[in-house]
Amino acid sequence: MFGISFIAPVLQLIILGYAATFDVSHIPTVVCDFDNSPSSRQLIRSFTCTEYFRVVGYFDKTSAIDNQLDDGHASIAIVIPRGFEKKIGAGASAPLQIIADGTETSTAGIGLSYATIIVSQFSQNILLESLVKQGVVTLPARVSAEFRVWYNPELKSRNFMVPGVLGLLLMVMTMLLTSLAIVKEKELGTLEQLVVTPIKPYQLIIGKLAPFFMIGVVDVLLVVFFASLVFNLPVKGGVPLLVALSLIFLMTTLGLGLFISTISRTQQQAMMTAIFFFMLPMMFFAGFVFPIENMPTIIQYVSYLIPLRYYFIIVRGLFLKGVGIQILWPHALALLLFGSTILSMSVMRFQKKLG
């Protein structure tokens, strides 16, 4: 029990935190330079000097590119046709082909947009250089963008994932363990024994749920500790607020765990139900990995019914943005409403099943 409640979350946190990354860099690239001129080499350099592309091979046959992309050895191929430099020198347009492996959509999308930026910058520089060469003193107007990235300046996807992992872990641990513990007693028959004792139903429920509340809090603290230690991700919004709001979230998960225990006869059923019918859909539709904004509108409305959605916003806000309760109160309120509703309904159903 100890191992599962405490070691597993930390392990999952560390693995997930390190592995769950969308950061795209060092994209393996192959080059087919048929021109072999200073200009073409300069273009290639403008790709390699960034950390986004890593050239893994130079080829002189386009058929070789087919193999490289098929195998997955490279995700991007740059093909510079012969006559590249000549065309540029003559003031004409020189074609440049860049092929992306579209099976890894995020890599391809981001890779192509980096490539577009590099190529347009290169293009613009050529234009300006030729103007200077022609003796033009006043350069034309041009526009650029200065970017400032808030909350996550290095754009590390880990910073986005780790708070999400906390929500996920909390839900898994508390909901699953609660339902399993209660159903186990049902299976063993000890639950009926408890019912015939003079203990009151609400005392029974509190007694059953309290340990998992505590486990939940300890898990939160563990995650916070390891997140700041291993991933350099402190809770900007303050740990007390995080614990308080987590307790409200725990109301929903424990309530659901209780509910699952009333609809399952065996532990196996409880596990299947909890994981496949609750956790899996909740995990996906609450915005763990995939942003809710990209979902069809109907599903976005459905996500408002999932408590985990609000917890994700709260956790990310506290970890990354350092916002306070003034900003988070609508989500906290939603959690409170859900929590009390789910918990009371599950308790009523549990009592009915017992008596």
Partner: protein, 380 residues
């Protein structure tokens, strides 16, 4: 070898089917959940970044700046949520997640362009979701660059130089998935994920259930051999998993146009090998643990979480730290995914992934072999 086709297997298979039918929940999990996940991944869950909410603060308020700003909202990539009156509103908007991007056009924008100078706009991006943020940065850069090119060309015209064309005719091309639909990327991964999960969990439970119910002793006194028991128990789940795979492929074709570009026979072969290995792993887990709860926890942890995160299903392996990449080499799903993508999306032949296929075959042998040994120890 003739033993494998002996009659000892059939009663086991039949009994397992009967037990599956009795517990409707397992059946629904094995068949309904894959369909649900396919639906989820195809329609709801994707990485496409569209309709990003943007707020605009236009300090210039000229026709030039308005024209520039409109460029962002022509396509469906950005949605204008608000036009700001002052800079102080920016904090609240970003903190409260009302917008993800703020565009600030300086007051000197149109003046500098008319004078022929370089000017810049300020863009503030909510970096919390770094993947979306990086994509958004790329979009914005592209739009700004295109506008810059137009400005330059107009400057040329004003300076009397007309025939300047863009030096580079950039022709990007996307192979295998030209529209960059996330569904095409996710469907093969989904197959691997579902197969792995159902194979491992179902077999783990099947064996452990016998041990807990005590029916293991009955099996021990029957003339059945360990290998026969394993095969008998796994065949029903193999069939169900294969049905699930076919269902996913069928739905993927109908709903998301994911057709199998390569050889279906090759796909079936690789899937079969992977299934054997995963089923073997499920059995191995069940022979190692005593209680059902523990078996399930381990099976779930190993198959679901690790497969989801580390197999390359959602997160590209290449970008993970080297240590984690080393761990992924131990996951059969990783190799299966390479093979799946090659056959389904790229239409490649065995030559593109023979090394992955070999590892899968090895894995299947090892898993079945070791679990047979363990099973023998348990039965005797």
């Amino acid at each position: 070898m003739r033993y494998i086709f002996s009659l000892n297997i059939l009663p086991i298979v039949r009994k397992e089917f009967r037990q599956i039918k009795r517990d409707k929940r397992i059946l629904s999990v094995l068949l309904f959940i894959p369909a649900l996940m396919l639906f989820m991944f195809g329609y709801a869950l994707n990485f496409d970044v569209k309709h990003t909410s943007m707020a605009v603060y236009d300090e210039d308020r000229s026709s030039v700046s308005r024209d520039f700003i409109e460029k962002f909202f022509v396509s469906e990539y950005f949605t204008k949520i608000q036009t700001l009156e002052s800079k102080s509103e920016i904090n609240n908007l970003l903190d409260g997640e009302k917008v993800r991007v703020v565009l600030v056009v300086p007051s000197t924008f149109s003046k500098e362009i008319k004078r022929g100078n370089a000017t810049s706009v300020q863009v503030i991006v909510d970096g919390a979701n770094s993947n979306a943020a990086a994509t958004v940065l790329g979009y914005i850069n592209t739009i700004v660059q295109q506008y810059s090119v137009r400005v330059i060309t107009e400057s040329f015209v004003r300076m009397g130089r007309q025939n300047m064309s863009m030096p580079i005719d950039f022709q990007p091309r996307v192979w295998y998935n030209p529209e960059l639909e996330s569904a095409k990327f996710l469907v093969p991964g989904l197959i691997a994920f579902i197969l792995m999960v159902t194979a491992v969990i179902s077999t783990a439970l099947a064996i452990v259930r016998e041990r807990e119910l005590g029916t293991m002793e009955q099996l021990m006194v029957s003339p059945i051999r360990p290998l026969e028991l394993i095969l008998g128990k796994t065949i029903p789940y193999t069939i169900i998993s294969l049905i699930a795979t076919v269902t996913i492929l069928f739905l993927g074709y109908i709903l998301f146009d994911v057709s199998i570009k390569g050889s279906v026979v090759l796909l079936a072969l690789v899937t079969f090998v992977f299934l054997i290995g995963s089923l073997g792993m499920g059995i191995l887990i069940s022979t190692l643990v005593e209680t059902q709860q523990l078996a399930f926890m381990i099976a779930v942890f190993v198959s679901m979480l690790l497969t989801f995160i580390l197999s390359g299903f959602v997160f590209p392996i290449r970008n993970m730290p080297v240590i984690i990449q080393a761990i992924t080499y131990a996951l059969p799903a990783r190799y299966f995914l390479v093979a799946l993508r090659a056959v389904i999306l790229k239409g490649a032949g065995l030559s593109a992934f023979w090394d992955q296929a070999l590892i899968l075959v090895l894995y299947a042998f090892i898993m079945i072999g070791v679990s047979s040994l363990r099973m023998r120890k348990i039965l005797t």
